[in-house]
């Protein structure tokens, strides 16, 4: 009797014991680092920790200081400009390239290899190459001037007003290949019959893309959007390599603000507050998407 009961209902803790032991690294990472670490940072953003974390609460002081700091405001503004343009251009360029690639062309693999190789390179390498190409003394500006147009000016990395666009050029070079690949996968997933039907009805190609294909690729677009967006919030290495935040503070971004305050200015509280703001930004992007995904799965 007892034996039967044991066989039917084994100890819950010992069930799948090996699987549980094997999952310890995952559980520790999820609970201690991801959940615990995030809560810890948010918690300590309400303290006035300087060199070392200290538990002396100052309420929202750090946040007030943060939003009064010119450097943070510049960072946020840069992130907004960079984010909006980077989203628009990567989606448009990525989709156009994918549409061109989808015309049953020859050498498709060669073109794909060329468009995607920058994605294999680090942001540091990307930033340094574009720093060199955009160098006003030797790069594009000097080449165009030597062709005879002596007043030509194109020095985004040395002009505080447009420096963020110089970074944008490099970022698009690095990242559009990935968007192209995702879009191409989406285009290939569309039923050939839809194209046939559109052709029979005499709908011009651009109209088919705009009003039939793109709405059908909604899921791909949303996924791509989330990937690009979470990359945008993280942008850090590229700025460090290309401009180090300069000239002055004109190309600062939030991720760099966090790093500098945590590890260089020895003002941990500010760093924690700034990183919490980054977390909130990501949450604003992710939560609606997760909600949509989750809802969609339930329906399906």
């Amino acid at each position: 009797m007892t034996g039967q009961a044991n066989a039917g209902r084994p100890n819950q803790l010992l069930r799948n014991l090996h699987a549980k032991i094997a999952s310890i690294p995952m559980i520790l990472t999820a609970v201690v680092i991801f959940l615990g670490g995030t809560l810890w940072t948010v918690f300590y953003s309400f303290t006035n920790s300087k060199l070392l974390p200290r538990l002396s609460f100052v309420g929202l002081d750090q946040y007030e200081r943060l939003w009064a700091a010119p450097r943070w405001l510049v960072s946020i503004q840069n992130l907004a400009i960079y984010g909006v343009f980077s989203l628009i251009f990567s989606l448009v360029i990525g989709f156009l390239l994918a549409a061109l690639m989808d015309q049953k062309i020859r050498f498709e693999n060669t073109f794909r290899t060329i468009f995607l190789y920058p994605f294999a390179l680090s942001f540091i390498v990307t930033g340094l190459v574009w720093q060199w190409i955009l160098n006003p003394e030797f790069g594009i500006q000097s080449v165009v001037r030597s062709l005879g147009w002596s007043t030509f000016t194109f020095d985004p990395l040395y002009n505080p007003n447009i420096v963020i666009y110089g970074i944008l050029i490099a970022a698009l070079w690095q990242g559009t290949g990935l968007v192209m690949c995702l879009m191409l996968a989406g285009l290939r997933g569309i039923d050939e019959d839809i194209w046939k039907a559109a052709r029979v009805d005499g709908i011009p190609m651009w109209k088919t893309y705009l009003f039939i294909i793109i709405p059908m690729m909604r899921a791909v677009f949303i996924t791509t959007l989330v990937i690009i967006a979470s990359g945008i919030v993280r942008v850090y290495d590229l700025v460090v390599a290309q401009t180090s935040g300069g000239p002055g503070i004109s190309s600062e971004v939030p991720a760099k603000y966090v790093y500098d305050y945590m590890f260089q200015a020895q003002n941990l509280g500010q760093g924690f507050a700034a990183s919490t703001m980054m977390l909130i930004t990501v949450a604003i992007i992710i939560v609606p998407w997760a909600y949509l995904e989750f809802g969609g799965r339930k329906r399906g």
Binding site: S23, M26, S122, L128, A185
Partner: protein, 313 residues
């Protein structure tokens, strides 16, 4: 007239084309130089030129001497090819007080990338296997936290990790950095492996269970041999990702252990001394070489890796 008929009537063509070498199959071929093709290929070639330009400029600049760089423009091919910048970038370029070039960073990156890749894949594949075949209560909750965590900016979690590593006495060491790479590689790799193992036929797993095989036996004898492709994809993902990392390298290691990317940035963006653009570009190529080689060799698998990582994420 007869031609037109056969073209418009595919069934007639197919029946007459039973011999293997008969006529073209599939769609009507378009003339190669139609206006449409000129536009498509023109646009593609223009885009390809834009994407290739930086690589070309890097290579060309690194092969020139400094006097030629000061005189010429960055797009002109070198008049006199010199490999001196490459030698200097590798062996004698300076960062601060160290003048042993990028080679130190290269070997640091090797010593970081190999163990991080192996350990992170080992742990993630076992996680994925447990999640796919040995689900226990709460497993899905931990997995959800892990996936959500993949979207949290690293800056939020960096300082707590610094504290944990400091308590363990590993802050600043290579081991510490390897642990960090393992942690942050875990969400995407676990997802990759879980999806792959879930897609394998369940009968295999059940048959092995009936034969009395346990957790580890099934993993090593059945799952591992069947999933070599996904291991290769994971390896590509990790090698390029870890090699290209900058933030973790700069936060979690001491200067003598800086990976190649950090050292490259310090060499190129150092404020002292005369700027040697040819050495900088040679150093940049050297740092980009490893992921580029991985990319060109792996080809389609690389695309599959990023697609698997991205679309399902």
């Amino acid at each position: 007239m007869a031609e037109v008929v056969t073209l418009n009537n595919p069934s007639a063509k197919v029946s007459s084309a039973t011999k293997p070498v008969a006529g073209p199959r599939g769609k009507k071929p378009r003339p190669l130089l139609s206006p449409r093709n000129i536009m498509i290929y023109g646009a593609l070639l223009f885009a390809a030129a834009y994407y290739l330009l930086p690589l070309y400029v890097m290579v060309v600049t690194s092969l020139k001497g400094m006097p030629e760089i000061r005189l010429g423009n960055i797009f002109s091919p070198p008049l006199e090819i010199t490999f001196e910048p490459w030698v200097k970038a590798w062996a004698t370029a300076c960062t601060g007080l160290n003048c042993d070039g990028l080679s130190r960073g290269f070997w640091n990156s090797v010593r970081i990338t190999i163990p991080s890749t192996v350990i992170s894949i080992a742990i993630a594949s076992i996680n994925g296997y447990a999640l796919a075949n040995w689900r226990f209560k709460g497993a899905d909750l931990f997995f959800t936290i892990l996936i959500v965590g993949a979207f949290i900016p690293y800056q939020v979690m960096i300082y707590p990790i610094v504290i944990v590593l400091r308590e363990m006495g590993l802050y600043g060491s290579l081991t510490g950095l390897i642990i960090v790479h393992t942690i942050f590689g875990m969400p995407i790799l676990t997802l990759l492996f879980r999806n792959y193992f879930t897609a394998l036929p369940e009968e295999l797993f059940k048959a092995a269970r009936v034969d009395g095989a346990g957790f580890w036996t099934i993993y090593f004898k059945i799952m591992l041999p069947m999933s070599l492709p996904i291991f290769v994809v994971a390896m590509i993902l990790q090698v390029t990702g870890i090699w290209n990392d900058f933030l973790f390298g700069v936060v979690f290691t001491r200067p003598e252990y800086y990976p190649m990317t950090v050292q490259l940035n310090n060499i190129v963006n150092s404020v002292q001394g005369v700027k040697e653009y040819n050495v900088n570009m040679a150093a940049t190529i050297l740092t980009g070489a490893v992921p580029l080689i991985v990319y060109f060799v792996s080809g389609r698998l690389f695309v599959r890796g990023i697609a698997a990582g991205a679309v399902k994420g």
